[in-house]
């Protein structure tokens, strides 16, 4: 990042390559929407590049990147809450539960069984995370998906360490309650 700051723009590709998967997965789990996650990830990388001069070496680049991305998600949620989205009845249909919806499974080179299992697991996780209250979600995903330390999460979210800890534990409790029925059924992912 220091090289990018000093004007070597090509080095930014290395940073994008290194962090794109982690950032995308964080955003995907947070938003539950692949397209939106990709869009926000791109926006975060662009912002990080444009405002490279503001980056200070006291924080890791990943922490700074997660902070930018988290703020972008917050802004989107805020603007969405101001203008509620309309839900199409035709798209979901009467009586259709989320479980019955078709899942788009992309070709990842794995066997069909593996792909279905991964897609189902991913779907279960996404749906559970989506039901966790918003304010606990960020810290939870950063901890459980991206495996950031509590200190890093505090830096990203701007919360106190104790608040981060309690929010993560609350989110874990929510997640446990949401996923427990699936686990009880003994579904083998």
């Amino acid at each position: 990042m220091l090289r990018v700051q000093s004007g070597v723009a090509d080095c930014y590709d290395v940073l994008v390559e290194r962090y794109k998967v982690r950032l995308f997965n964080y955003l995907y789990r947070l938003t539950g929407n692949r397209d939106e996650a990709e869009e926000i990830a791109q926006e975060a990388f662009v912002k990080a590049y444009i405002h490279a001069a503001k980056y200070k070496t006291i924080a890791r680049f990943s922490t700074w990147l997660y902070t930018i991305a988290t703020n972008l998600v917050r802004n989107r949620i805020r603007s969405r809450s101001r203008a509620p989205q309309l839900i199409s009845l035709w798209q979901r249909g009467f009586g259709d539960s989320d479980e019955e919806r078709m899942l788009d499974i992309e070709d990842t080179g794995r066997t069909p069984d593996e792909a279905i299992n991964d897609a189902e697991l991913s779907s279960v996780i996404n749906r559970a995370i989506a039901k966790i209250p918003e304010k606990y979600r960020e810290s939870f995903v950063l901890r459980e998906i991206n495996e950031l330390s509590y200190e890093e999460i505090a830096a990203v979210t701007g919360l106190k360490l104790g608040t981060v800890r309690s929010r993560i534990n609350r989110a874990r409790n929510y997640f446990r309650q949401l996923v427990a029925p699936v686990v009880e059924k003994g579904i083998d992912f």
Binding site: Y12, D13, V16, E17, K20, V21, F24, N25, Y28, R29, R34, E38, A41, Q42, E43, F45, V46, Y49, I50, E106, T108, D118, L121, S122, V124, I125, E144, I145, Y150, I168, N169, R172, N173, F175, R176, Q177, L178, V179, A180, V182, V183, F189
Partner: protein, 226 residues
């Protein structure tokens, strides 16, 4: 150990905290408390499930998309900067023009005012003139000028020539009164200077005498009035 404490410690153990004594204590509690035991097993399995979550692949063109977005953002920033510079330049030109116009207008207005009202405003003229008596209508003073003390020493019962010569001596040529008319200014002067010294019962007679004498004098020597 109560349930709350045991559950909080369970979270800490998930985060990698290692305290054997506390762990043994929590295990003992789980053995005794069925609810906490269920809680622990559900938490373990759910978080294990989460950690098995597949890593979602990113679009192959992601890097290119980022590059393209950066390129666009740079262009937008450049355009913004260019438009901002253009605006600043335009504003500077406007500022210079408007300031020049305002100054010209002020100078023109000042010039026109001076041309109409003379070189120096009237107020300035009044301020620079020596102090003189000016009545309310702005005309020349009508009251007599101060009389030298030496004249006041003249005996009160003086003849008319002293009064007439008084005006001539002081250069008082203001009285353009017609022939035979009474110069009020001179009468005032008489009253002020001499009559007031007489006893009251002599004043009227004295004044009348002086007026008559003045009339006679004026009729005889009209040239003295000029």
């Amino acid at each position: 150990m109560n349930c709350r404490r045991a559950r909080n410690l369970l979270f800490d153990f998930f985060d990698g905290a290692s305290n054997e004594a506390l762990r043994a204590e929590v295990d003992r509690h789980l053995g005794e408390c069925r609810e906490c035991d269920t809680f622990a097993s559900e938490l373990t399995s759910s978080l294990a499930l989460l950690r098995r979550a597949p890593v979602e692949p990113v679009d192959d063109n992601f890097n290119w998309k980022v590059r393209l977005a950066i390129h666009r953002e740079k262009n937008v920033a450049l355009e913004r900067a260019a438009s901002a510079n253009a605006w600043v330049r335009a504003w500077n030109v406007r500022y210079v023009l408007s300031t020049g116009f305002a100054l010209t207008a002020v100078l023109l207005a000042g010039g026109m005012f001076v041309a109409r009202n003379g070189a120096v405003p009237a107020s300035v003229q009044v301020a620079t003139q020596p102090l003189t008596q000016v009545n309310k209508s702005g005309q020349e003073p009508t009251s007599p000028r101060p009389v030298p003390r030496s004249n006041l020493r003249t005996p009160v019962r003086n003849d008319l020539s002293s009064t007439v010569s008084l005006g001539a001596h002081t250069g008082d040529n203001r009285s353009n009164v017609p022939m035979g008319a009474i110069d009020e200014a001179r009468i005032d002067s008489l009253i002020n200077m001499e009559v007031m010294r007489l006893p009251e019962h002599e004043r009227d007679e004295y004044i009348q005498r002086r007026i008559n004498a003045l009339r006679a004098r004026q009729s005889q020597q009209p040239s003295l009035q000029h």
